[in-house]
Amino acid sequence: MTNPSLPENAMEAGPDLSVSLAGLQLKNPVMPASGTFGYGEEYSPYMDLGRLGAVVTKGLSLRPKAGNRTPRIAETHGGMLNAIGLQNVGLEAFCQEKMPFLRQIATPVIVNFFGNSQEEYVEVARQIDQIDGVAAAELNISCPNVKHGGIVFGTDPAAAAAVVGGVREVLNKPLIVKLTPNVTDITVIARAVEDAGADAICCINTLTGMAVDIHSRRPQLANGTGGLSGPAVKPIALRMVYQVARAVKLPVIGVGGIVTAEDALEFLIAGASAVQVGTANFLDPAAMIAIIDGLDRFCRQEQIAKLADLIGTLRC
């Protein structure tokens, strides 16, 4: 894919990896998936966090949440199951203990959040809106591992629209809504969320799965089931991102099984404006830096001056 109209010196400065998303200008489209990157600081020994397109925090609730019993994770072929249960420090501790660090890093901070009820979702959003240094909020209506505050809001279009609408009323910052793949038709939820006032859609959260210990005949996870992530889910995630990007006008953040720059490029071509990297952070703490470098290299090789020009260019 060469561009004959490219100015001769355009590539010398390096390709432009920046993307715009829901009013945010990101230096590149690569950010962590919530829950795989702690509160950012955990990974600071391994990379300059300022190189990331954005940082996305662990999902936060109004009060600290204990999470599920252990075992919480199990490995499967090409992936892993987790049922952490949204363990987090709570909004107050987040502001006091985690935000001072996050304010120092040279990239937008996106706070992922959830509630146990419609009212709590709205209250958390109201408080996040007041946090100085938070660029955007990511609404989690898709966690498969808790009864409330997750998937019940994400599997029904009316419930999804209600919570997004309620949050929208109190949140002035850009609102990203993270969707679950555990539905019959994800585009129905995506359209409901768009109509209710979301600024961007993030998909997919993990796929509900299971693993059994054949000796004890118990589920390997204490929670019974868990969310499947990792390379195994990539084709499904890619298909859903493609469907959602065609169904709505909102920008889409693609997530699911991305390990390499090539994986990220597939998502961009399929219609994602940005990508999140999850399980790969566990395999290599500097995985996102390798992906960003790989995007840069790809653009140079293919003589693509602006990476954003690739978004949604799938030829069908």
Binding site: G35, T36, F37, G38, E42, Y43, P45, Y46, P64, K65, A66, G67, R69, T70, P71, R72, I73, A74, E75, H77, G78, G79, M80, N82, I84, Q87, D213, H215, S216, R218, A222, G230, P231, T279, N281, F282, L283, D284, P285, A286
Partner: protein, 285 residues
């Protein structure tokens, strides 16, 4: 904490099902504290997906391959083949490539008010005690109580003795040393040295028994825990244990990888720990 792509120097079976792997690891010698661990995966296979945590047995230096080259700094781990991950590791050879993240976690505290130091290791659990013994021996006499199911599960006795550690072996089936649990030796030693400091690593039931003995005698105890984990750096929250005073309203989860793997016994909620093991805990590969 660094992530290095490096080379295996040796991978040898030391007892049936137990292996000792030596890995080229510059800079690790001065950075690893006794009780710390590394996350390891073989390069180029893609399976298993996740790295595996291993306690560091020791670090050291080998002669250079030829004059003019620097000495080879290495780290060494010991592992038992229990599942898919360790079965793949068994088949690795000298020259194969691995990726090592570490050193990770909090190691043992070695400043002690006590004159007598007692280490308790169950099976493969004695791995992190070797560097600890080396460090403690600079100031104190050190005794190691090793327990295992059978004689094949008793490893590295000679290595500890060479350091100058007094060792006591017990096996469940009596095939080596005393017959019975390692804790009966611990009871005897603590009767003789009531002010000793104890350090333990091994299976959860052994740690519980050691904790019960030390708690009733008010003996200082540090334990090194094992857990299945994805990241090793405190992000995935897969390896948490409940800390003392934990409740649903006031959750006090501790990451084995980051706040541990070594804990002072009083930092943990032992009742909940036991329940975890009984309800759902099992060995992971």
């Amino acid at each position: 904490m660094t992530n290095i792509k490096t080379t295996i120097l040796a991978n040898q079976e030391v007892a049936p099902g137990y292996y000792r792997m030596k890995i080229l690891a510059p800079e690790f010698e001065r950075r690893v504290r006794p009780g710390q661990f590394v996350m390891l995966r073989a390069l180029g296979f893609g399976e298993p997906l996740l790295r595996r945590p291993f306690g560091v047995f020791q670090t050291g230096r080998l002669q250079a391959d030829c004059d003019g080259l620097p000495e080879k700094e290495f780290l060494e781990i010991l592992y038992k083949v229990v599942g898919r991950g360790t079965a793949l590791m068994r088949d690795l050879h000298e020259g194969d490539r691995v990726e090592v993240l570490g050193p990770l976690g909090r190691g043992f505290e070695t400043a002690s008010n006590s004159g007598q130091q007692i280490l308790v290791g169950g099976g493969i659990g004695l791995v992190p005690l070797y560097m600890l013994a080396g460090e403690l021996l600079r100031q104190y006499p050190v005794r190691l109580l090793i327990g295992g199911r059978s004689r094949e599960d008793i490893l590295m006795v000679t290595e500890f003795e060479r350091l100058g550690v007094e060792t006591y072996v017990s096996t469940d089936d009596g095939t080596l040393g005393d017959a019975g649990p390692v804790t009966q030796v611990l009871e005897r030693k603590l009767t003789r040295f009531p002010d000793a400091a104890v350090y333990a690593c091994g299976p959860m039931p052994m740690l519980e028994a050691v904790n019960a003995i030390c708690a009733s005698r008010r003996v200082a105890l540090q334990v090194s825990l094992e857990a299945f984990m994805a990241c090793g750096v405190g992000a995935c929250l897969g390896c948490v244990v409940k800390g003392a005073g934990h409740s649903k309203e006031d959750p006090r989860y501790l990451c084995t990888c980051k706040e541990g793997p070594v804990f002072r016994a009083e930092e943990l909620d032992w009742e909940l720990l036991a329940r975890r093991v009984n309800e759902g805990g099992r060995d992971h590969d």
